[in-house]
């Protein structure tokens, strides 16, 4: 009997040690002692971990020079494509995809913005659209927090394209596409 006692005690000890490790509740790894984005932080300002930047802060990649008066980048198809995408996200709810000013939110009672196809806005420099997006205009709020400077130029360029398109004639269309337009399958023309 004594011959067996030692291994038995050893086995019991090993067993209880493994068991006690398993029973040990891990400190909660799902919720670690760090702040995730926007997590509430009691005792910080406004109880939030996301602090407001000090007045006068400048973003690390901000361009500090004066805003140019003309389009600062080459006018490419990609730029217009980007402008179309951003315009449809941020502007079309009110200005409509065509720029007429009859967007969905206007149909629900928002004051109607002027059409982009008026003579005054057709003559306006691109910089005017850039400024309206940056600073807002009348009842329209500024979009500077959501539309980056390059995108503002892209949108401005796209608005110009919308304006030109409204007054385009058949003669402006390349010859091969003109044939298809005449046949009436205009939907296949837009790329």
């Amino acid at each position: 009997m004594t011959r067996l006692a030692r291994p038995c005690i050893a086995a019991l000890l090993a067993l209880s040690m493994t068991l006690s490790i398993a029973a040990c509740d891990q400190p909660h790894m799902e919720d670690q002692a760090k702040y995730e984005t926007f997590e509430a932080a009691p005792e910080w300002a406004d109880d939030q971990s996301a602090l407001t930047p000090v007045p006068g802060s400048v973003a690390r990649d901000a361009r500090l020079g004066p805003v140019p008066d003309e389009l600062p980048m080459p006018l490419t198809a990609e730029l217009l494509e980007r402008g179309r995408e951003r315009f449809n996200i941020y502007c079309s709810p009110c200005h409509a995809r065509t720029g007429s000013g009859h967007g969905m939110v206007v149909q629900r009672g928002f004051p109607q913005p002027p059409t982009f196809h008026s003579e005054r806005l057709r003559q306006a420099p691109l910089r005017h659209f850039y400024d309206v997006i940056s600073d807002g205009f009348g009842v329209m709020y500024a979009y500077r927090d959501r539309v980056a400077p390059e995108d503002r130029w892209a949108i401005a360029a796209y608005i110009r394209a919308l304006q030109l398109a409204r007054h385009a004639s058949l003669a402006d269309v390349p010859a091969d596409v003109r044939q298809r337009l005449k046949r009436g399958d205009a939907t296949k023309v837009t790329p």
Binding site: M29, Q32, F38, P93, F110, Y141, D145, R146
Partner: protein
């Protein structure tokens, strides 16, 4: 002396042993089912919010793009929750006296943010990035469901490791072209470009997507 055990005890012992084993298996299966059930994974979780904001009205009804409000989704890991000013771009003129919107107006005047309650919350030991998915052909709908039909925001996916991996092992059938990322009701399987072609266009290599360090870093 009569035998301590009758002959029957032999078969009884077998029945008891098998019974204990079967019970153990049943308990583990039950535990696993409960562990992976909506009760544990939070599928269907739709917490009370400070303002009864409805995606159904704003996305389904007004046709707003997700990025109008969740503007960080393409450029950062965090999708972004709109600040009060974003609501006010419309509600400075729309429904200006609605009782429901009182907390929004109060937030603007007192300059204290609205405190929304998180719906989705991954464990802190998992790394997740919206930018990595949204710019590589995975649409919001694949993970968040038909948001445009939600009067209350609700969690649709279990967010378990199994769920992430089921797509990381074979992303092709879930990919969309870039201009359909925020669309609702688009079916990657039947509409538009084929998955294999998109895999090449986005240059996705599924090998690294299964490595532990992709999500646990």
């Amino acid at each position: 002396m009569a035998p301590l055990f009758r002959r029957r005890a032999n078969s009884l012992a077998v029945v008891i042993l098998v019974g204990i084993l079967a019970l153990l298996v049943a308990i583990s299966v039950f535990a696993y089912v409960v562990y992976r059930s909506p009760y544990q994974t939070d599928v269907g979780y739709a917490p009370e919010q400070p303002v009864p904001f409805s995606h159904q009205h704003h996305v389904g009804g007004l046709g707003l793009d997700c990025r109008y409000c969740h503007s960080g989704v393409e450029t950062s890991d965090f999708a972004g929750i709109p600040p009060t000013l974003t609501c006010m771009t419309c509600h400075s003129q729309e429904w200006t006296n609605a009782e429901m919107l009182a907390p929004v107006r109060q937030s603007l005047t007192t300059e204290t943010p609205l405190s929304w309650t998180r719906v989705h919350d991954l464990a802190d030991y998992v790394y997740f990035s919206h930018r990595a998915h949204v710019n590589n052909g995975v649409g919001c709908e694949s993970c968040h469901g038909r948001v445009d039909k939600m009067p209350m925001t609700v969690q649709k996916a279990p967010l378990t490791m199994k769920w992430c991996l089921s797509c990381h092992r074979n992303p092709a059938p879930n990919l969309r072209p870039l201009d359909e990322i925020t669309s609702m009701g688009y079916s990657p399987a039947t509409d538009g470009a084929s998955g294999q072609m998109l895999m090449q266009r986005y240059r996705i290599h599924p090998d690294t997507l299964k490595e532990c360090a992709t999500c646990h870093r």
